[in-house]
Each structure stands twice: as C-alpha cells, then as structure tokens.
Symmetry: C2
Subunit: 340 residues, 2 copies
DNA sequence: GCGGTTTGTGGAAACGGTTCATTGAAGGCG
DNA sequence: CGCCTTCAATGAACCGTTTCCACAAACCGC
C-alpha cells in the first residue's frame, strides 16, 4: 500500500510487471501473431492480476477511430422511433460500436449543434433525421460532414445514404381503401411537409383521389401537426365544422391518441359515426374498441438496415454512390372503417 | 491545393497560421483570462478561416474527463422507460455531457460487459438498472466501479445512489382499492422479484391483504412475466381456472396489452366480467374502452433526478453518503373496476 | 532608476495507447 | 563456418490536447 495513489493501471505498468516492452503488451492486446505463446500467457496473466483495463480514449487518439456512432432523432420516447433506434443500437453493439443517442426536438439549431458535437467527438458515423430537408444550412452541414451519415425517413439530400418507409404508397393505399368504401370527405392529418414522410403522404393521398377523378378539398389536409395536443385541437375543429369529414386518416407518427380523444369528446363513435385509419400500427390501434385499421412496416428492419448501411460506409469508404432503401408499407384492415 | 492530403486541422495548424504558440491557442479555446484581446481575436479569426474543430478525444485524453455518461437499461422501446431516458438525456446534454445508450435485455452478462465497455471508454458516470439485485457478481461490479453509478428503480446495493418509484405504496393502494370494492380473488402480475419493483409490489399487495386480515392465495401471484407473450399466456391460464380471479392487477411495466388481449380472447368484458388495474399509466390505459384505472408517477422527473444526482457525484466526488430518491405513486381511478 | 511584482506568451512535458524501424537471436544453407 | 533470412521483442516517435514552468516585458512604489 504505502503511498497508494491509486493511479489507474496502464499498459506501461503491465509491461513493467511482466518484464516486457510496452509494444509487446500492445501486440498481445491486439492479438498480433508475432508474440510467443509463452510471453503472451505471461502478459495475459499480468493483465488479470493487475486488473488492467484498456483505455479506449488513448486508443482512439492514436488510431483516429472511436468505434462510436451517434444517432440524432426527433424524439425517442415515441414508440415507433424507439423500436428502430433499439434495433440499430443492437446492430452497432454487436459490431463492437458504442451508441450515442440524442433527441433533436425537431429543431434546426439543435440538429446543427449536435452535428458539431458528434464531429468534435470524432464519432465514426451518424444516423439521423432532420427537421427540414429544404434548409440549405442543414443540407450543407449534412452533405459535407466529416463522417458518413445515414438519413432515416429523409430522402432529399441526394448525396447521402438513406433508409425510409414507402409512405407515399402507404398513404395511397389507405386513401384508396377509404375511397372504395364510399368516403369522399377524408381528413388527412400529417406533420411538417418539409420532411419526407408528410410530403409523400400528402402526395399519396392526392394521387389516390386524382386517379379516381375525385377532387381534393384542401381544407381537409391539416399539416404541421407535431404534438398530440395540436392534433387533438385540429381534429376537434374538423369535427365541429358544418360538413364534417366522414373519415380521418391520422397519417403522422404517434398521431392516433389525439383523434381518438377528439372523437370521444365530440360524443362520436369510431367505426360508426366516423371512420379512422392510423398511419402507424401500435398496441393502441390494435387493442382499441373497435380495433383501428392501420399502416405498418418493419421498424426493426429499418433500424437494422440503417445501422448496416452505416457500418458498411465506415468500413468501405465514401466513394461508392449513395444508397437508398425504401421499405414497403402495408395496410392492416381492422374494424374502424365502415362503408358509407 | 497541390498535395492536398486533407489532414484534419489541429491546434498546431491554428497556432502556426496565427503565429502564436499552441498553448496560447488552447488558452483562447478555454476562455483563459490571460490572453490579450488583440491575440484572442486574431486566433479566433484563424480558427474560423481554417475551420478548426476541437478534438474531444485528445481533450479527454489529457484531462481524464470524457464529458460522457452512459445509460444501460432493460429495454428502451418500452414507453415508460423511454420517457425517463429522454428526460435524462436532455438534462445531461444541457450540462454539456454526451449520452451513451445501451439496452441490457435484462441479461446479467450483457450488464457486466456493458459496465466494462463504459469503464474502458472512461465515461464520467453511469445510469443503469440491473436484472438481479441479489447477484454477487453484479453487486460487486456496480459497487466497485471506477465511475459513479446511479441505479434506476433498484435499491438493494446500499452503497450506490438510486432513484426509484414507491412501488410498494402504489401496489398497496391499488390492492386496497380492489379489496374495498369487495374483490377477494385478485391476480397479481409482476416481473422478476429479484429486482426492486416486483419485489415491492408483491410486498404492497400482501400487506394490503394482511392489514384487512384477508389471506392471500399464492396461486394468484404470477411473477417472472417479462414479455407480453408470457403475460398473455399467464393471464389466459388464470382466466381458464375453475375459480377465476375477479380482478387483475397487472403491476409490471408495459404489462397491460397481454391481459387485455387475454380478456378479449376469453370473451369477457373489462369492467363488467372482470376488473383490471394497470401498474403503469399510458395512452393505452387512458383510451381503452372502458378507460383503465392505473398507477402513475412522474417519469420525466425520475430521469431528471437521476441525471442531476449523477452530475452532482461527478462534480463533487464519491465521499458523501449515498442518496436515495423515491418518487410518490398515485392511483388514477377510471372505469375498469366494478364493485362486487 | 532600481528591486520586486504582475502579466502575457512561448515551449515542452505529459496523457496512454499503436506502430515502425531496429536489433539480437535463431535457423537454414552452401 | 560464415552468410542470409526469418522471427521476436525492444524502444521511441507519434496522435492533439492541456498545463506547468520559464522568461521577458511592463508596471509599481519608493
């Protein structure tokens, strides 16, 4: 004991204790072939007895690789997001990477400042969404970042890899279903059209109408619905109009509870007085009375794909052309829509 | 351009370009007072023109502080967990810390290996749960870790800070409520009693019975229910028994969907044929028909408290005695329980 | 105008790994 | 036996910061 300064034990301490050079210890740690079995074992024993723990900071410093990836996403307490974040984290971890997570609250300045933080931390790659695909600052920061980036559910930046769901096809399918049941006043609830999902949902919705020669009432399209409260208020307002919609397609993510509350508040019954389709499947949709018809895609696969894409970029460089994966979306028909 | 090796620009490049010493640049970066206004501005301009980005790795290397904290939790795609993880992340970020997230899948070996990873990465602190509070390996690893740790909803390791909810009081309240309605066969569904929440829920449930002199049928306590499928199966089995329970207290986290499915499958109606209390409030509970009576506590506050506690430890050392915060749990009465 | 203090800047030594050139020993071959 | 090659291990340089010591200039009071 004695002075017992309790310094953390370094590779140099190990080298001294095992009576070898530091380089040799390093080679043992990295499974380099040119170490005698005898010395290897001696060093390994010393590592155990001293309780040596390799310092990842020093390692990153020298190798210029941190084995860390970062993920910046609007809000990971939304189950739909959490499930692909989880899949991504698992993929990264099994590849030996550590996962940094941050939420952007869909704010441009947060997104930019996180990109800077990640860059200063020298993460090996980034997985993210952005609030506005048309913003030049964001586009510039993302396409000129020092590390590879994979976008989630964003497609506008042509030079960057992305993984998304085919929201346009999904929206079209949902809308066609409602139209086929005879609905003509279908409210569409979406988020910000400056981002891919809402934009393509509006496209799909419009397309479905146009293909059947049905005109779209622009008042029925309500966008920029970014909170449950906003969605609730907007739905309530729609239900209060003289010619209220006969169906609601709540297309945005995590957007079901607002309309359900509003419908209940208005004293209406889902599946009788009004039809509802949810843009995302969930326990809430499945277990509601009546169960809610919903769109669905494999979110775990989305996270896995994104992670694998990013790992591939990290390993094989940025020269190959950007890749784009678009996952299929399907409609799960339940009991919340009735024919008119 | 010329050779254009595109090395990242370092503090040395800045020093050379601004014609000062590296130490001076460092002092400008760290807002050290003893730099002339004139030199400070010259250096700052150089930093901007060269596009210098401070290397956090090198900084950590030298200062032995990473400004990173890690969080290891069973499963962050469970909304109840995600909401306090989110609050914690926000707190850490506003304090200048970067947040590492990993899920343990409630497995001891994952927990141990994550602790090692965090330790190798020299994170400044850890926020976590563990699968088994009685496991000596885990207890040892946690109480002798190199960095401060705050436990979430775990209380057995006396030497470590913790933040939890008062599950025992909550369970007692829920059980007393059901007993007061005349229920005598109340099924209790919980997770693993080796962890604090389930253990204290069983305590609270038992206590409520004992205080009224009512005996507990051990067959009605179903523990180790760690997945939705297991909970579904167990509930279905209970409902199939000759003397089926008149009430179900689904106490575990994210445990409501299983019983709801089982009740529906059995052709029963919640609030009429059987009463249900959920151990966690959620959209699903609130929007169900009928709305489900549930326990509730402030999860964001839980995450915030944990983060603040950890930051305090990081700043002020580990000599002060361990702190323990236990948040109150309250019962939100809705329409899912009827008097017998 | 001179000793002593204060202030601003330069330069170098750390931090803990990895890697590369170097060396010494051992082995193979004519 | 001497030369060439191969193989193991050594020791030092390096990664990009921070911090500490040294030093010179400026300032102070007497």
């Amino acid at each position: 004991m004695g002075k017992a300064t309790k310094r953390t034990v370094t590779i140099r301490d190990v080298a001294a204790a095992a009576d070898v050079a530091v380089g040799t210890v390093s080679r043992v740690l990295n499974d380099h072939h040119s170490v005698t079995k005898q010395i290897r074992e001696r060093v390994q024993k010393t590592i155990l007895t001293l309780g040596y723990q390799r310092n990842a900071i020093a390692q990153s410093m020298r190798s210029a690789r941190t084995k860390m990836v970062a993920c910046a996403i609007r809000d990971f307490d939304i189950p739909a997001f959490a499930s692909y974040v989880k899949a991504a984290e698992a993929t990264f971890r099994s590849a030996g990477y550590t996962f940094i997570l941050a939420s952007t609250a869909n704010a441009k300045d947060v997104e930019l400042s996180l990109l800077q933080t990640f860059s200063q931390r020298r993460v090996d790659g980034v997985m993210m969404t952005m609030s506005d695909e048309t913003d030049p600052d964001l586009v510039n920061a993302i396409s000129h970042a020092a590390m590879p980036i994979v976008l989630i559910d964003r497609e506008l930046v042509q030079s960057v890899d992305s993984v998304s769901a085919d929201h346009r096809a999904g929206a079209r399918q949902a809308t066609e279903y409602l139209l086929s049941l005879g609905h003509r006043r279908i409210a569409l609830l979406v988020g910000d059209p400056k981002a891919y999902p809402s934009r393509s949902r509006i496209d799909g919705y419009t397309e479905a109408h146009r293909c059947l020669g049905i005109s779209v009432d622009p008042h029925l399209i309500r966008d920029r619905l970014l909170s449950n409260e906003a969605t609730f208020r907007e739905t309530a307002a729609l239900l209060g109009r003289s010619e209220r919609p006969t169906a609601i397609y709540a297309a945005g993510v995590d957007m079901l509870s607002g309309p359900l509350r509003a419908v209940r508040t208005a004293g209406l019954v889902v599946g009788q007085d009004i039809s509802i389709i949810s843009g995302n499947d969930s326990d809430l949709a499945e277990l509601n009375t009546p169960p809610i018809t919903a769109l669905r895609w494999d979110r775990s696969e989305m996270g896995r794909h994104a992670a694998e894409m990013l790992l591939d970029r990290i390993d094989h460089g940025r020269q190959s052309p950007p890749r784009r994966i678009r996952l299929p979306v399907s409609l799960v028909v339940r009991g919340s829509c009735r024919p008119l």
